[in-house]
């Protein structure tokens, strides 16, 4: 029985990298959005520019589920290389759209799916003589075919094409024509629409469609960053590139045409973080964007920044490691390497945004926190939220908000005779005052070093002075617990002994998993951790439950280790739920894994079994 569904299904495009499919697929996703139906697209792409398989998955969900679901209801199979796997991946009762120009043997299909053949190559060959056009427009032709098969609003599609080719009439006409070639062919030759349909809805609201990397970069603009140093690495390059774009639009002095920013593509990640540290030491807000291998390279410098107390912001867009790992696949796998980055005793502040809206918010807040705490701040994104378009609440900014530059002693304060000790804890919060270089001719200068020093920044190797400083750094870390974004708790309708902790990009899948679990009669309280060091509410949440599941996208349960270690929790009470094959975690996976363990934890009373 073919699947029947309105506004709730998964479409997957199987393409060849470099064939120009990306913009056509995005046109499809945006068209659905314009019909008022939420979509969550995901690029599944190889580390390659041309020739390898690539997929674009569009989850359509009027209910607003934005996490990956798993399974495919409609496959657009445009890549012969992956045909068998793609056909096998279709849900029973699902649909397959393929290029029927060349006949296929029956054994290449399945009996339990609906096969839809459209002679895409033939249509294009008839229409175009230029081989490049034949290739490129084929993508638009299949989107046109989909518009008829799924009963889409073709007017919205034309409008989108119009916006994309504004001022380029010829391109607009050509694309519109290609769209109708596919649409008209289906209308003349096939039964349509199929069992999967799109119906105009009003479920998108004022939400925006944005990649996390772009939002995080905009956060850096709003957070007052002026220096960015980076080295290209997937999946973080687009963050630095977005910062460049945003700055060119928002940070060029209108009168002089000069830049209120400096961006350096450095020779490596060591230089990137070095430039950031130098700029931050000198009173500019500075950041780098990188991924796991870059974090590894920055370790020595991060220890210096921790010990010398330099504000620095690091956007870590995580991918699967170790080593080169799977550079184009998502994971939450740098938690430990960032939390304890570097040699010696170090601890760092981490922020875990769940989506682009929080990437923007935390991206801006990171600079205030860095200046306030005088320490590196890591914004932990991942490929799933960084490089995919995600529906998110609109970005907001309060115009009364002031950038918090932290404890900086001014020339006037020095002149007035205020005592200055670079590492002197005057307020009991572990945070000392600093001066920017060049502040005062005779007062307030100090020597910054990675070697130990006394409270007045004078070199010393005396044990008590070293220990005193290390203790103050711990006090500062305690202060951080109340400054970083708090965890968000959501309780089940009825009291429960079970809780779940999750963070970052797992969010939408987790929300949906809770619905699935509740439908099965399971009750779970939820805590979304948004930062490290952990707020005291993390410990109390665990204390209130017998068992707490910790859901994360890595092999070694890294956040769980951090909770065990930093909150002194008995590991037995924290049950790891781990997903780490490089695909985004799904609601189905979480719900199944938690349900299995809940069933195992439920001890059936002996009497019941006997009777």
């Amino acid at each position: 029985m073919p699947i029947q569904s309105v506004n709730d299904f998964v479409v997957r495009f199987a393409n060849v990298n470099g064939s120009g499919s990306a913009s056509a697929n995005e046109l499809f996703a945006r068209s659905v959005l314009r019909m008022g139906i939420p979509v969550a697209p995901r690029n599944i792409f190889p580390s390659n520019i041309q020739g390898l398989p690539t997929w674009y998955e569009v989850r359509i969900s009027e209910a607003g589920h934005l996490g990956a679901r798993g399974g495919t209801d409609l496959m657009i199979a445009m890549n012969p290389q992956t045909w068998d796997k793609d056909v096998a991946g279709i849900e029973p009762g699902g649909y397959l759209l393929y290029d029927s120009t060349k006949p296929m043997v029956k054994s290449k299909f399945r009996d339990d799916i609906t096969v839809i053949g459209v002679p895409l190559t033939a249509i294009c060959n008839r229409e175009y003589s230029d081989p490049r056009q034949r290739q490129l427009f084929k993508n638009i032709v299949y989107v046109g075919a989909l518009s008829a098969l799924l009963d889409m609003d073709v007017g919205e599609m034309e409008k989108l094409i119009g916006e994309q080719y504004k001022g380029k009439e010829k391109l607009f006409d050509a694309n519109k024509h290609a769209l109708h070639l596919g649409r008209d062919w289906v209308m003349m030759n096939l039964d349509h629409p199929i069992g999967l349909r799109l119906k105009r809805a009003d479920a998108v609201g004022d939400r925006i469609f944005i990649e996390g990397n772009s939002a995080a970069a905009l956060g850096a603009v709003y957070g007052g960053a002026t220096v960015c140093a980076w080295y290209p690495i997937t999946p973080s390059s687009s963050l630095a590139e977005a910062f460049t774009r945003h700055c060119q639009r928002m940070r060029v002095d209108p009168a002089t045409k000069k830049n209120k920013f400096a961006i350096i593509q450095a020779e490596d990640e060591l230089a990137s973080i070095g430039i950031v540290i130098g700029a931050a030491w000198n009173g500019s807000r500075a950041f780098t964007a990188t991924s796991g291998p870059g974090i590894s390279l920055m370790q020595e410098f991060l220890g210096l920044a921790y010990f010398a107390e330099i504000p620095a912001v690091i956007f870590d867009v995580q991918r699967a490691g170790p080593s080169t790992g799977m550079p184009t696949r998502t994971q939450q796998t740098d938690i430990i390497s960032c939390a304890y980055a570097s040699h010696g005793d170090t601890k760092h502040v981490l922020l875990f945004p769940e989506d682009p809206a929080e990437a923007f918010e935390f991206g801006a807040a990171a600079f205030d926190l860095a200046d306030r705490l005088q320490t590196p701040i890591f914004v932990m994104l991942d490929l799933d939220i960084g490089m995919n378009h995600r529906l998110a609440r609109p970005l907001i900014w309060d115009d009364t908000r002031k950038l918090d530059r932290g404890k900086v002693m001014s020339a006037a304060a020095l002149e007035a005779g205020k005592e200055f000790g670079r590492y002197l804890d005057v307020d009991g919060d572990g945070i000392p005052y600093r001066t920017y270089p060049g502040t005062h001719p005779t007062k307030g200068s100090f020597f910054t070093r990675g070697t130990s020093r006394d409270r007045y920044a004078r070199y010393t190797e005396e044990g008590p002075a070293y220990a005193d400083n290390m203790q103050r750094l711990l006090r500062k870390f305690e202060t951080a617990k109340d400054l970083v974004p708090r965890p968000l708790q959501a309780n089940a309708d009825k009291p429960t002994k079970y809780g779940v902790i999750y963070f970052g990009s797992t969010s939408p899948a987790m929300d949906e998993a809770i619905d699935l679990l509740e439908a099965d009669g399971h009750a779970l309280d939820r805590l979304r951790v948004r930062a490290f060091p952990f707020h005291s509410s993390v410990t109390s949440f665990i204390g209130e439950h017998d068992f707490v599941f910790v859901v994360e996208q890595n092999r070694d349960a890294q956040l769980r280790s951090l909770v065990v270690n930093e909150c002194n929790i008995d590991p037995v009470r924290l049950v790891p739920i781990l997903h780490y094959d490089g695909t985004p975690i799904t609601a189905r996976f979480i719900a199944r894994a938690i349900a299995d363990r809940l069933d195992a934890l439920k001890v059936t009373p002996l009497r019941k079994v006997v009777s």
């Binding site: 500019s284 410098f301 115009d399």
Partner: protein, 351 residues
């Protein structure tokens, strides 16, 4: 090692510079390097240069990496902010500092291990970007702090104190600096203060990447027969191409040398260098000729010193990046944060 404070009092009649500072205002803590170390002579030249140029001490930022040479910023300019960063990475930290505030003078102090071995990449990249700085390498061809291992500037065939012969080829940092586009390149000798101090002054006045390689013999591990970085060896093989007699700021130039023996070099910032030529064939503006001159003399075992190259119209990184004139670290909230109206428009473009 302990921190030793110098007494603050000084004789009331000590000479003052234009800003009213005395020599002592440019000094730092007492050096903890070995007695007779060439590096201390370089520190003295830096102090001398800053005093004579009447630079406000707090307008200098001194940055270094790790090693004996990188410890020296503690021993000069005590009223300047200093940053002893990580091994071989001073150039990136200095680059960032320079981006944040283009109004300060950046003095990078490094050694041959720091710049030619572990930090060779950062050395080259900071220079090729044209960071406005004075980059001094205190070059002794040896690792002092870890007790006498060869560094990458040790000449092939030179002998360590323990008698080991170095078989690796040497990196000539001056050659590399010329190749990657330093706009001011000089070499000097820590034992020749009259040559070194004016070179440092000229480098400070230079608006661009200024590099000075200073041969600075290590009295503990590299001052023996068989070393090519010892006092005796350098004195015997020094081939000085010119001598900078003075550098004026924006004051009128008075030159009373014989006609033809002095070349006046105008710097971009309006200052002038008076260059007394010792080798009549040498042209400080010809980068290619300088590179070949160096190679030619190196083959003869000679160490060429003096001002080797200066670009008449240098550009720095801020010019390349087209940054605003005000230091980036002084920009206020309203200049940095585009505000909610811009954000609303941005949101609208994403629907």
């Amino acid at each position: 090692m302990t921190y030793v404070a110098k007494p603050k009092f000084h004789h009331p009649d000590l000479p003052k510079n234009e800003l009213g500072f005395v020599h002592r205002d440019y000094e730092g803590a007492v050096s903890t390097l070995c007695a007779g170390c060439g590096h201390d002579s370089i520190s003295a030249s830096i102090i001398e240069a800053c005093f004579e140029l009447s630079i406000a001490p707090h307008r200098v930022a001194k940055l270094s990496g790790i090693g004996c040479s990188s410890k020296t910023p503690t021993y000069f300019l005590g009223n300047s902010h200093g940053f002893n960063s990580v091994h071989g990475r001073m150039p990136s930290v200095l680059t960032g500092a320079n981006l944040a505030n283009r109004d300060l003078i950046y003095l990078g102090v490094s050694g041959d291990g720091d710049s030619a071995s572990i930090g060779f990449g950062q050395f080259a990249h900071a220079i090729r970007r044209g960071v406005d700085m004075v980059y001094i390498v205190e070059n002794n061809g040896v690792y002092g702090l870890t007790k006498g291992q060869f560094s990458a500037t040790a000449d092939a065939g030179s002998k360590s104190k323990r008698g080991v012969v170095n078989t690796d080829n040497a990196i000539d940092l001056v050659g590399i600096a010329l190749q990657v586009g330093a706009t001011f390149v000089a070499r000097s000798f820590s034992g020749d203060k009259t040559q070194l101090t004016p070179l440092i002054k000229a480098a400070i006045e230079h608006r661009g990447a200024a590099f000075i390689d200073v041969i600075s013999p290590c009295v503990a591990f590299n001052n023996h027969a068989g070393s090519t970085k010892s006092f005796d060896y350098v004195r015997e093989h020094n081939e000085s191409v010119n001598r900078l007699d003075f550098i004026t700021g924006r004051t009128p130039i008075k030159v009373d040398y014989e006609p033809g023996s002095v070349e006046l070099v105008m710097q971009h910032d309006g200052s002038t260098l008076a260059l007394r030529k010792l080798d009549s064939d040498y042209d400080v503006h010809d980068r290619l000729a300088a590179m070949s001159f160096l190679q030619h003399h190196a083959a003869k075992g000679q160490v060429v010193t003096g001002l080797l190259y200066v670009a008449p119209e240098p550009q720095d990184l801020h010019a390349h990046l087209n940054t605003v004139d005000a230091p980036l670290n002084t920009l206020a909230d309203k200049e940095l944060c585009p505000g909610s109206a811009v954000l609303d428009k941005f949101n609208a473009s994403l629907r």
